[in-house]
């Protein structure tokens, strides 16, 4: 059963249209990530679900009920904000049960839920502290606690980890994921970090310029990017997107290219990790720079004026200025229509 559903949502600020025809559904118990570059409209989408913004047109449904005109409190959601939104004058315990007090839940029940949440988040020793006496990770946990004690089925998260350092971000990411699965929460999670999205999501909605580029599982987004934008946004380092011109078509052996008529405008996408170094076959290119990353090495090379990035396992004895032959399997090529960026299947029998 889909618990959240957005139908034909449009949102404008004055003359600028920030969301255009957004349609999606989120299943019960699912962790749905709204991913996209900054300013793409992902936070606005979340705020529309929360009821903090009202759509210009369209319908928001939660739990099968049209909530488009209801205030946030009547939507039975909880929300975690980017800067945690902890009240500086209240201590940890008071912050966590803030909403329960507002909703006049009996004292006994408040205490039970607080203890439960504090235990779950490892905050039991910090209940008397003020937010200013906590570290970033602890503040984040308090914000999560507030969301847990609400005991509502839908939890909305607006870039919850963006203020933490890299290591802590990874820990909290795993913690949020395991918490979500344990408590069977439905979660809508906004982030601009594709690694965060890939690791945490059941499904991802990639938004760009106010429209949905693709809605699918992380595997689908990685293996079958629906548009050239998805291809270049998902994956690290990003996918190589090449515009085949006569020079490239001459330099590249035809066995490496899909069998289409290149007089029409196409884009070729190939992931850095799908490219191999070859000794005898493939395309000639010139190494421009190499970056050693420990587990693998990133090599940027040039073919005429095209730049191609590839990654290889471990350390390779290649340095800038070397000639190199690179090779890939033709089925690893993602073909896109240059006019609208849409994916074109070039292999028989391949289905996304």
């Amino acid at each position: 059963m889909s618990i959240i559903s957005l139908k034909n949502i449009y949102k404008s600020w004055g003359d600028t249209e920030v969301l255009k025809n957004i349609n999606f559904e989120c299943e019960d118990g699912e962790l749905l990530v709204l991913l996209g570059p900054s300013g793409c409209g992902k936070s606005t989408t979340l705020r529309l679900i929360a009821g903090l913004e009202i759509p210009t047109s369209g319908i928001v449904e939660i739990g099968g009920k049209d909530v488009s005109d209801l205030p946030p409190v009547k939507r039975h959601i909880s929300m975690v904000f980017q800067n945690y939104a902890l009240f500086p004058h209240l201590n940890v315990a008071e912050n966590i049960i803030f909403g329960l007090k507002a909703r006049k839940i009996p004292k006994k029940e408040q205490k039970k839920r607080l203890e439960n949440a504090a235990d779950l988040l490892g905050l039991t020793d910090f209940l008397d502290r003020k937010p200013s006496q906590l570290s970033g990770g602890q503040r984040q946990r308090v914000a999560l606690g507030r969301s847990i004690v609400a005991q509502v089925s839908v939890c909305l998260m607006d870039e919850p980890l963006s203020n933490l350092d890299a290591k802590l971000r990874q820990e909290m990411r795993q913690e949020i994921r395991s918490l979500q699965q344990r408590l069977k929460m439905t979660m809508v999670y906004v982030t601009h970090d594709q690694v965060e999205a890939m690791t945490i999501a059941d499904r991802i909605i990639l938004i760009n310029g106010g429209v949905i580029e693709q809605h699918g599982t992380p595997e689908e987004l990685y293996n079958y990017p629906a548009t050239a934008f998805t291809g270049s946004f998902i994956g690290n380092p990003p996918m190589n997107i090449l515009t085949p011109d006569t020079q490239l078509l001459q330099a590249c052996p035809s066995i490496l290219l899909p069998s289409v008529d290149f007089t029409a405008p196409y884009l070729l996408g190939i992931r850095p990790e799908d490219i191999e170094i070859s000794s005898d076959s493939g395309m000639e290119c010139l190494v421009e720079l190499t970056e050693y990353l420990g587990a693998d090495t990133l090599i940027v090379c040039k073919v005429e004026k095209h730049s191609i990035t590839l990654t290889v396992k471990g350390r390779v004895a290649v340095s800038a200025g070397d000639q190199l032959r690179i090779n890939w399997k033709v089925e690893k090529i993602h073909l896109f229509d240059a006019a609208n960026g849409q994916r074109i299947e070039h292999l028989k029998g391949a289905t996304p």
Binding site: P72, V73, F81, N83, G99, R103
Partner: protein, 273 residues
């Protein structure tokens, strides 16, 4: 430029600060000196002059100071309470809600800041007269209760509160008045303290309007009582007058010493120096 290894600008600055400080302190020191010594030492300095508290006792009994003190206390409490309620609600409206003509109305409020209360003396007297409140304590306070300064100060303070906190409260189902009470007011505590001190000290010391509107012991505040007490026709005894003055300002002085940290901090925070 330097002199004895210290920058001259710094020396002038320090000297200036001390000079101004001394000028401010001089009357206070004189009042303290004269009030604690017998009359013959009131204009004469002698280090070991005998100390006495008799001036205070006499001043206390010569005029109904307890009653004046009570009146002033009621007055400042009344004004402060009314100001807190009115200014909080007005500031909340200006800080959080959009309504038709908001900017225009706020400009009117700011305009009020530029009008000296003394200009309105006659008009206010007529209004109070029509209300039938002449010579009462509310009459002294009424013109000051909707304070433009208070509205402005609180609005600025409310505006600095992060939007996320408000939204978090909204998501949790707190009503508009609940948000004011649970989020805005507690987070603006230092502004309230600072504004409270400014208001109390202003109205504690206010003189002209209470003088005009009061005419009996029952409503006269300390300042007016003191002025009548010290008027030449009642004979000039500096020791007693200064004793009465010290009594008048003592409660305020103590409050300032107690709250000075919050006071200064709050003004730093609200960006008004």
């Amino acid at each position: 430029m330097r002199l004895w290894g210290v920058e001259i600008g710094k020396i002038i600055e320090t000297a200036g600060a001390w000079l101004l400080g001394a000028l401010w302190l001089l009357p206070v020191v004189f009042a303290l000196w004269s009030s604690f010594h017998p009359a013959e030492y009131s204009t004469r300095f002698e280090l070991f002059a005998p100390l006495t508290t008799e001036n205070f006792v006499r001043a206390w009994s010569y005029a109904p100071f307890p009653r004046y003190l009570f009146n002033t206390f009621i007055l400042v409490t009344l004004i402060l309470a009314a100001q807190f309620v009115l200014c909080t609600l007005a500031a909340y409206g200006f800080a959080r809600f959009d309504f038709f003509g908001k900017d225009f109305v706020f400009a009117l409020v700011l305009l009020q800041l530029m009008i000296m209360p003394e200009v309105l003396l006659v008009e206010n007297y007529r209004t109070i007269g029509e209300l039938g409140l002449l010579d009462t304590i509310p009459a002294i306070g009424l013109p000051y209760m909707a304070s433009a300064f208070g509205i402005f100060l609180l609005r600025q303070s409310f505006k600095t509160i992060p939007k996320e906190l408000i939204e978090a409260a909204q998501v949790e189902g707190v009503s508009a008045l609940g948000i004011l009470w649970k989020v805005y007011i507690p987070l603006s505590k230092s502004t309230y303290i600072a504004y409270g001190l400014v208001s109390v000290s202003y109205h504690w010391n206010n003189f002209l309007w209470p003088l005009v509107v009061t005419s009996s012991v029952n409503s006269r505040p300390l300042t007016v009582g003191l002025a009548i007490f010290g008027a030449p026709e009642s004979g000039v005894d500096w020791s007693i007058i200064t004793a009465a003055t010290v009594m008048t300002m003592a409660p305020l002085l103590v409050a300032f010493i107690l709250f000075q940290r919050q006071f200064v901090q709050s003004f730093m925070h609200s960006g008004i120096k």
